[in-house]
Subunit: 201 residues, 4 copies
DNA sequence: GATGAATGAGACTTCATTCAT
DNA sequence: AATGAATGAAGTCTCATTCAT
């Protein structure tokens, strides 16, 4: 990696931490420069604008995330055709690990989503659509194979499942006791609810 | 209502709109003053600090919300003992109407939650706990009455249901086609999933 | 005069001096603020932009100049119908006094003319056209009265005369020996050349 | 021409364009470097300072101009002894062509004259004095030969004539319709005024 | 000899906050 | 009680200049 690329990385890394910590607009470029160990002028050599720093940072993060989400799980999935329960568990844990890895990125994206069109577009295009497309095709396989009900449209199902998982992650993010083991148990319960419902048979 | 209270209200109203529109830290007190139709000095007569304006605004909003959520539905609930499905539907639609009414407040709370301890505490204390306590006692009634499974702890169930509904609201907030009718249908589907699951019996 | 108008004046005055001394773009707002005896923030309360400060300053100066040039000499002119020689002398000396009074303004206008469209427009509209219109009508009176040649178009004549006077002012501005007496003599010589030419009869 | 001289030329050329376009102090060295097709570092290898770039550029330009003005016209003048009218016409058109050729240089010199002593000195020494000395000796020849009046001192005459021509050039520079033909006509009129005056005989 | 990455001082500008009126 | 003028600290950004490669 060239030196200039290293500098760019250092700046994006520092910006990622500070943006996620105090939000884009409360973060100052001087603080970012200091954390990155470069002068403020250098920040603007690489990113002509504070906003551009945000957008490039998110774009770069999402690209990396995109690779991680697209490649890794599909390989594991095709390797062993699992039942719905196990599949969802794998997907959720994989997402959880990604969540941990990309925690800062997600925090930034979720926060700045509503203030910056560019971020919303990246989010819609590279996260929502991608996740939906991966899940929906698999979901419909399970319908065809007779495991899942046909009278629930896959969009609603996926949305509901995503919401359950999303809020679970949030709870863990904001709580102190957030071990991987607890997460495993919580995910299993959540999937149980999703597949079997809470109603008594 | 006294004149001074009116002024305070005007300022909080204006602040609510601007905070929700561009975020707390990107909002400027001068813009708030202008929208409220008062001078900048006046803002600081009522709120010694921009941050205090945020906190008092959220506190006030949450108190009003608290009354709305605590009183209205409980009356309706006790009036007619419903089955779980109908109860959840009522609750969800009621929450949806509240969401619409308190849209700005929620947007602010969700955004500033992670940057301001005071907001997080208010949120935990007056929203999470309140909602959880209302729902969990009812939920356990349904367990006892044999409608719901005993092997799912009420916290997990409530969390999952909240997540499903939350993300549904989000989808509507960010989409263009967001009529009340569509919401009614979506909520019914979501409750169906929650109670019966997606798995084939 | 209200206090706020006083402040605005102080800032424009300071800006006028510094702009004329080192040019618009080499002048710094902090220096202007210091010279005006206000804080830098105050400068931007009155002029949202450094550029706006320049434009408003020029506009204001030109308006004052416009009044001075339009009203004063016309009164004197109508009072006593003079011959061409005396008329031009009066006009030139009047212009010289204005030049001394508006020295800074002219320096700024002449310098920034070519970099800022707004200034050029103000200059064309309020100085060139005004001066031309005042002079040309009078000039044509002299033609009609048989004092001046008919075969020189008034625009060329006025342009030539203005150039002679302009460069004379410039010489005085850049020289050390620039008394009013010397100017009077130089103007008389210049007018002699203009009316009689340098060629021998 | 050596390679290093070429580079120096390229930089001065680029600087000349940008300085004349937006003024010395609003021009940035990075822009100059880009336009010259060299790196920013290179600019500072050849010119230790932005200011030095300006001064050397002007010095170099004035030297070239000096040769052009001193050599060419004198040859033509001595070749054919003309009358005053024709002589002035030749000189003016020659100056006009030089003006077109050195347009950028003149614009820079005129603008920076009052902000940089070095430029003013170069201007006075190499342009004013030179032009004055060339013209004044010739002018006095015409006095002696009885063509021109003796009662006008040559400095005043030359100054007046220069002003007329200067402002004519300015008018052309700022107007759209600025053909060489129009200039020829305007110069002839101007000279007519200069020699014969506008007064009726 | 040339490059372009890095710097840091300083530019313009914003804004929460104070205070005389 | 209310105003809005004034502040000054801090923010984003620019740019001449240096220096390792």
């Amino acid at each position: 990696m060239k030196k200039s690329e290293q500098t760019e990385q250092k700046i994006m890394l520092a910006a990622g931490e500070i943006f996620s910590e105090k939000g884009y607009s409360a973060a100052s470029t001087s603080e970012i420069a200091k954390k990155a160990g470069v002068s403020e002028g250098t920040v603007f050599r690489y990113f002509s604008t504070k906003k551009e720093l945000l957008v490039r940072l998110v774009k770069y993060g999402i690209e990396m995330f995109s690779e991680d989400i697209a490649i890794k799980p599909l390989i594991e999935l095709t390797r062993a055709k699992k039942n719905g329960q196990d599949f969802l568990y794998e997907v959720s844990m994989n997402r959880y690990d990604l969540w941990v890895k990309y925690r800062n990125l997600f925090k930034i994206v979720i926060h700045e989503l509503s203030f910056h069109m560019e971020i919303k577009e990246l989010f819609d295009k590279y996260i929502c659509e991608k996740v939906e497309s991966i899940l929906s095709s698999t979901y419909e396989d399970y319908i065809k194979s007779g495991d899942f009900r046909e009278d629930i449209d896959s969009h609603s199902a996926i949305r509901s499942f995503s919401g359950m998982i999303f809020i679970l992650f949030m709870e863990h993010a904001h709580s102190n006791e957030n071990s991987r083991e607890k997460m495993q148990r919580d995910i299993k319960t959540t999937i149980d609810i999703f597949i079997n419902g809470v109603g008594k048979k």
